[in-house]
Symmetry: C2
Subunit: 162 residues, 2 copies
Amino acid sequence: MEIREATEQDFDSIWPIFREIASTGETYAYDRSTPRDEAFELWMEYPRKTFVFEENGEILGTYYIVTNHSGPGDHVCNCGYMVSSNARGKGLATSMCEHSQEIAKLMGYKAMQFNFVASSNESAVRLWEKLGFESVGRLPKAFNHPGQGFVDALVMYKWLET
Amino acid sequence: MEIREATEQDFDSIWPIFREIASTGETYAYDRSTPRDEAFELWMEYPRKTFVFEENGEILGTYYIVTNHSGPGDHVCNCGYMVSSNARGKGLATSMCEHSQEIAKLMGYKAMQFNFVASSNESAVRLWEKLGFESVGRLPKAFNHPGQGFVDALVMYKWLET
C-alpha cells in the first residue's frame, strides 16, 4: 500500500467515498447532497494538498490538508480524512493521520486542528485522542445529526512535535 | 446613525478600515498585507451578507455574517466586526453585534460562533462575554501575535434566544 498525492484522475475513485460519507450527514459538515463538482472543489481544489491511500491499485481512503486560518493563524493546518466503507477497521485512518502529521511538519505547520468533530462520532474522537489530539473546545448543539438531533461538536487540536 | 446592508460602492469606505485592522496583525486571521481585491472577496463576496454602520453619511464600522459550516452545521453562523480607529469606544461594536444577532435569527440561524478570537484581545473577549458569548474553546498558541508571539485563540459561542 502507499499514501501518495492525489491526481485529478483519482477523483473518479474519491467521489464514491466522498458521496457515501457526506450523504449520511453523520460526520462531515458537508451538505448531504453535495454535487460532484462541488465535492471536487472542496476536496481537491480548496485544500493545499490532497492524498490517497492506495492498495493493489485501488483507492481506499483519502485526506486533505489546508491552512486553517490565514495571517496570524497560518501555522495551524486542518485535515479531513475519509475511508471507504469496505476498508474500515483496518487502521487506514490512523495511517493517514500519522502521514498527514509528517506532511504538515514538512509544510511548515506547527499544529493541526479539527474544527468540527461530531461528539456522537465516538470512534473518531477516541482515535484522534489516541493519536495525541486533545478536545480543546465543545460547541453546544452545533452539529445537527440526522438521527440524534443537535449534538455537541468538538474542536480537537495537536501541537506537532518537531 | 443606521446599520444597513453594504453596497459594492461602500467598499471604498470599508477598505481603509479593513486595511488598517488587518495590517496590525493583532486581531484578525487575515494576512497583514491582504490586497484590496482579496479583501473585497473576503468581506463582501464570501459572506452571505455585509452591513455598514453609517453616521452622518460616513461609514464608521462594518460587519459580515456567513454560515460557519455547511450541512449538519448550517444552523450556526459566524460574524466579523470592524470599527474605524477614529470611532472606537463609542459602542459601535456592541451595536453591530446586537444587530447581527437579530439578523442572524431572521436568517434562520440558531447560534453564532467566533472561531478565532486572540486571547490577547482582552477588550474584545470582555465585550463578547458581556453580550452573552461564552468561551467554549481555547486553541493553544494558535494565534501568532506580532508583539506577543504565540498566544491562545478562543472559540466563542452563543445560542440565540428566539
